[in-house]
Symmetry: C2
Subunit: 416 residues, 2 copies
C-alpha cells in the first residue's frame, strides 16, 4: 500500500544514501541473516543480538576440537582463565576499564545480587539503597530481595518513564544513610542515557558506592567506568555484544575495592587455589573472587567475536552510527506514526539517548505478534511501547525504513 | 614395555570379550573422539563428559536457524520454557522425579546457595546445617558462606576420605536444631555411594530437610528423589550428562515444598508473569521460582542428547556397565599398581561405589601432567589421588586397559 507514497520514497532514497556512506556497512555481512533478507526488519538487536557468522563456525570447532579434543585438559590450558581474559577484553574495548577489574560469569541477576551484597558489606552502618522506578526490572526485583533479607531500605526515585534519572534527583535523596546507588546507564524502556559521571560524583560526595547496570549501553554507547570513578557495574552480553541467548553476564569491581570485597556465594571457582579443593574458603586474589561456580564456556565463545569487531571499529564510530539510526527512526515515527496517535517515549536529545527508541500507542500490544509474523521484529514493553533497538553493526538504514513502513500499515489499518 | 607381559595380554583379552558382550557398545560411536583413538584413554568422563556428535551439529544448527533465524521470537516460541522442559526430561530419565519439580539454570554453586537459603527459611528456629568433611568442595565453601551470613552453625561429620558418610553418622548428629542436611550422593573423591533413602529418613525423623548433591551420580547411578522423599537436590550436567564445559546445573524442590519456597535471588525469570516487567516481585508458580536470570540456552543444547540416550538405554543398563567397568579397573589396579605401592581409595563393595575409582600414590601428582601428555587422561585429586572416571556410554573396557598400562609404566619408572 505504500508503493506510491512519496514520503516513503524519499525516506527510502535517504536510507540508501545513508547506507552508502556508512563506514560500518561492511560489518552487516558478518552476521547471520543480516544481509540476506531472512526477515524484513530486525529491530530488536538490543534484546538479542544476531549471531556473528564466525561464531557458528567457532562453536562447532570448539565442540570437536577443544571440548572433544582437549577434553578435561581444556580447563588447565585455556578455559580456567577465560572469565578474566574475556573480562579484560570487554574492559578495554567497551567498558573503559583497566585490566583486572572485570570478570564474566553467571547471569546479570545473579552477579547483581552478589555485587550488591558485597557492596553493602563495605558500607556498614548505612542502610539505604537508592534506585529508580523505571530501573531494569530484574534490578528492581533483586534489590527488593536484598532489602527483604538485609533489612535495608529502598529509596525509590520516581523517574519519568519517557526519560530517566537526572543527577539532581539523585542529589535530592542520597545522604549519610546511603550505602549504594544502583541505576541503569541506559533505561531499558525509554533509552534515556544517564549522566553517569555526574551521578557517580554525587553519590561519592556523601560516601556512597555506585553500581551501574550497563545491560542496555554496553557495546553501543561509550562507557568509561574508570574515568567515571564507578565502583561496581554489571551487564549482559547477549544484546549489543551478540553472545547468544542467555550468554553470561559481566561484573566490574573497581580495583581499589577488590582487596576487601567479599561476595556471598562462596563457590569453588572464586576460591584461592581452587584446584587444591582444600578445607576452608578464602577468596581468590583480584576480580576472580566474584566468581562462584563453573562458568559456561560455550556461552562465552560468541561474544568474543563481537567484542573484537567493536574493538576494531572503535566504539566512537559505533555510537555515531547509533545516533544517526535512532535519529532517523525518530524522523520516520514523527512523519508516519505520530499522525496515527503514536507518541515518542524516548529522549529527542541525542546526548541523552541510548541505542533504542520506544514509541507508545495503545494498539501496539496486539500488533506485536502480527508484526513478528510479517518478519518485522521490534519488541513490546508494557504498557504500550514498541521498542526499536537498532544495533549499529548489523542494522541498515534501509531496514529501519522497511520496518516502519510495515508498522505504519498495520497501525493505520487499526486506527482508521 | 608391556608387550610380552602375560598379565597385560590376559587383561586385554578379557577387555575384548567384555566389550564384545557390552549391550551399550554401539553408543561409543555417538561421541566425538570416543571410537577414533584421538586420545589413548579418557578416564575423566566423570569430570567433563565427551561431546555427543549430534550436539556439534545441533549447536551449529541452533546458531544459524534458531538464534539467527527466529531471533528474539525464539524466547516466546521455545527457549522460555526450556529450563523446565529439560528439567522434566532429567526428572524422568535420571532423577526419579515427577514433572514440575526440576529446573535447569545457573551453576551448581549458585543453585546450591539459593536452595540452601530457601530451605533455611522453611525451618525457622533451627540453626544447624549438617555436612561432611569430604563433601564436594564447592558445597563446603558455599555452606561456610551461608553460615557466615546467617549465623547458622555447621555440624561437620568427619567422613572417611576413602569411603563416605554412613547413615549412623548422620543419626548421631541430627536433632531438633538441625535445619538441613547437605550431602553428596556419590563422594567426589572416593566415589562412595551414600544410602540416600536411609539418610533422608533419619533427617526427616528429626524434622530436618535434606539436600542431595547429585553432581557425581546423575546419569551413572540410579537416583530416586521422589521415592527417597528427598526435599531438595542440585547437580551439574557436564559430567555424565555431557552438557559441555560449564553447562548449567539443575535444581529439584519437592512439590510439597514449592508453594512456600522462596529463594533469595529475585531475578526476573523467576517472577510471576515476567514479561510484564511490572512493579514488585512475586515468585512464579511452581519450580520456575528457583530461576533468577536469563539461563544459558546454548549451554542447555548438548545435554539433551545425552539425556535422551540415557532414557533410551535405561539407567539400569548404564549402572550395570558402570559397576563392571569400575570392578574391572579395581582388578587391574590390584594387579598392576598395588605392587608398586598404590592403594585403592574407593569402596570395593559395588553396592557402595559410584561411577569412579580413586587410587592413591605419592607419585601421582607429578605423574598426572605426564600422563595427559601421553594421551591418558584421568584427573588428580589432592593430596595424592588419581581418579579414574569411567563414563559407561563412551568408555570401553579396552580403554581402561590401555590407560592403566601407561599408568603402570610411568609409576614403575618412578618407584623402581
Amino acid at each position: 500500500m505504500n508503493e506510491v507514497d512519496p514520503a516513503a520514497g524519499s525516506f527510502a532514497v535517504r536510507a540508501a544514501e545513508l547506507d552508502a556512506g556508512d563506514p560500518l556497512r561492511e560489518q552487516r555481512g558478518r552476521f547471520v541473516g543480516a544481509a540476506d533478507g531472512s526477515v524484513v526488519s530486525y529491530l530488536d538487536g538490543n534484546s538479542l543480538g544476531r549471531p556473528p557468522l564466525s561464531s557458528a563456525r567457532r562453536l562447532e570447532q570448539f565442540v570437536t576440537e577443544s571440548w572433544g579434543g582437549r577434553l578435561i585438559r581444556g580447563w588447565d590450558e585455556d578455559w580456567f582463565d577465560l572469565p578474566l581474559t574475556i573480562g579484560d577484553e570487554l574492559g578495554g574495548a567497551v567498558l573503559g576499564a583497566a585490566a583486572g577489574q572485570t570478570a564474566v560469569g553467571d547471569s546479570t541477576s545473579v552477579l547483581l545480587y552478589k555485587l550488591v551484597r558485597g557492596a553493602l558489606a563495605l558500607r556498614p552502618g548505612r542502610d539505604e539503597i537508592v534506585l529508580d522506578t523505571d530501573n531494569f526490572p530484574t534490578d528492581r526485583y533483586v534489590l527488593e530481595g536484598v532489602a527483604a533479607e538485609s533489612g535495608a531500605t529502598l529509596r525509590w526515585i520516581t523517574s519519568d518513564p519517557r526519560a530517566g534519572v537526572r543527577a539532581e534527583q539523585v542529589a535530592a535523596v542520597v545522604g549519610d544513610r546511603t550505602a549504594l546507588v544502583v541505576l541503569s546507564h541506559v533505561a531499558y524502556r525509554s533509552g534515556y542515557l544517564a549522566d553517569a559521571a555526574a551521578i557517580t560524583g554525587i553519590a561519592h560526595d556523601v560516601g556512597a558506592l555506585v553500581l551501574w547496570d550497563l545491560c542496555h549501553s554496553v557495546g553501543v554507547v561509550p562507557v568509561e567506568l574508570d574515568s567515571w570513578g564507578a565502583d561496581l557495574a554489571v551487564g549482559c552480553t547477549y544484546k549489543y555484544l551478540n553472545g547468544g541467548p542467555g550468554s553470561p553476564a559481566f561484573g566490574y569491581v573497581r580495583a581499589g575495592l577488590l582487596e576487601t570485597f567479599v561476595q556471598p556465594i562462596w563457590g569453588w571457582m572464586g576460591r584461592a587455589d581452587c584446584f587444591e579443593m582444600g578445607p576452608g574458603y578464602q577468596p581468590a586474589e583480584g576480580i576472580r573472587r566474584i566468581l562462584s561456580g563453573t562458568p559456561s564456556v560455550l556461552g562465552m565463545i560468541a561474544l568474543r567475536d563481537t567484542v573484537a569487531m567493536i574493538d576494531a571499529m572503535g566504539i566512537a564510530a559505533i555510537r555515531e552510527k547509533s545516533v544517526a539510526l535512532t535519529g532517523f527512526a525518530i524522523e520516520l515515527v514523527d512523519d508516519w506514526l505520530v499522525p496515527l496517535g503514536a507518541t515518542i517515549a524516548s529522549p529527542r536529545d541525542p546526548q541523552r539517548r541510548g541505542g533504542h527508541v520506544t514509541v507508545d500507542h495503545p494498539m501496539f500490544r496486539e500488533m506485536t505478534p502480527v508484526l513478528w509474523e510479517r518478519g518485522v521484529i521490534p519488541d513490546f514493553r508494557a504498557p504500550e511501547g514498541l521498542r526499536l533497538g537498532l544495533s549499529p553493526l548489523s542494522t541498515s538504514f534501509a531496514e529501519v525504513v522497511r520496518g516502519l513502513e510495515v508498522i505504519r500499515g498495520e497501525l493505520a489499518a487499526r486506527v482508521r
